[in-house]
Symmetry: C2
Subunit: 117 residues, 2 copies
DNA sequence: CTTTCATATGAACAACTGTTCATGTGTTTA
DNA sequence: TAAACACATGAACAGTTGTTCATATGAAAG
């Protein structure tokens, strides 16, 4: 059904259009998915997640380990927490952060595979 | 080795610090990884990739299918191509785009699993 | 060669992002 | 209660991003 689209000659057929429209998740889901990847799209946050791969940690440890300010880390942990990638546990004055689940590791590893070609 | 870090009491030990420093990829790799996820972090680009899951398509088809301007799609295809997520094939006036490899699908599916909980 | 069509690209703009700095909140200890 | 500590948060700032508009490139047809 090229006429419905732009090209004159050899463009996609109606059954492909239908297939896309069937398989394409709804806008809200796609938006959420993009938001999730956006969270992974910052090297500070990636570093925090890599640190938490090894053990749960408090904010100041992460800051010290990554050589960044406590405030910067705290802001980023907030983002990670909203995305449900990390969870927090309070122990007195200290707050320990850890990975929410194994999805985080899987997603990062999958991405890393593409990066290292 | 809490003294090396910030907290007074129960913070991470030196062997964990060592573990993180051993497993943490170098800055350039982490930067590349973040750049990769940044590319997935836009719903327009996600939609384009979903469309290409079904078949290779030319720019105007994608634009028509997603109800966006040809220019916007072209700009985004450039980003996707730089990240080696899609490849282009010229046929006369038309340029057909398709997925570079199966990593794309795997990364998106992995992200989707987290989104749909 | 000129026109037409599909695509690419540059400039401009508003919207968004990540850090810093200052300060607020909540918990423990003196 | 006051001080000290770990963490959270708001404002402000520079840097980045995605779209639009106008225009350029490159290929095919007349």
């Amino acid at each position: 059904m090229c006429a419905d689209l732009c090209c004159e000659e050899k463009c996609i057929h109606q059954d492909i259009v239908n297939k896309v429209e069937t398989h394409l998740p709804n806008d809200e889901t796609l938006y959420d998915l993009a938001e999730l990847f956006k969270v992974f799209g910052d090297s500070t946050r990636i570093k925090i997640l890599y640190a938490l791969f090894e053990a749960e940690m408090c904010v100041c440890d992460i800051a010290e380990l990554l050589n960044l300010t406590q405030s910067a880390i705290s802001h980023q942990l907030r983002v990670l927490k909203s995305a449900k990638l990390v969870k927090a546990r309070r122990a007195g004055k200290t707050v320990f952060y850890s990975l929410s689940d194994e999805h985080v590791r899987l997603i990062i590893n999958q991405g890393m595979e593409h990066v290292i070609e």
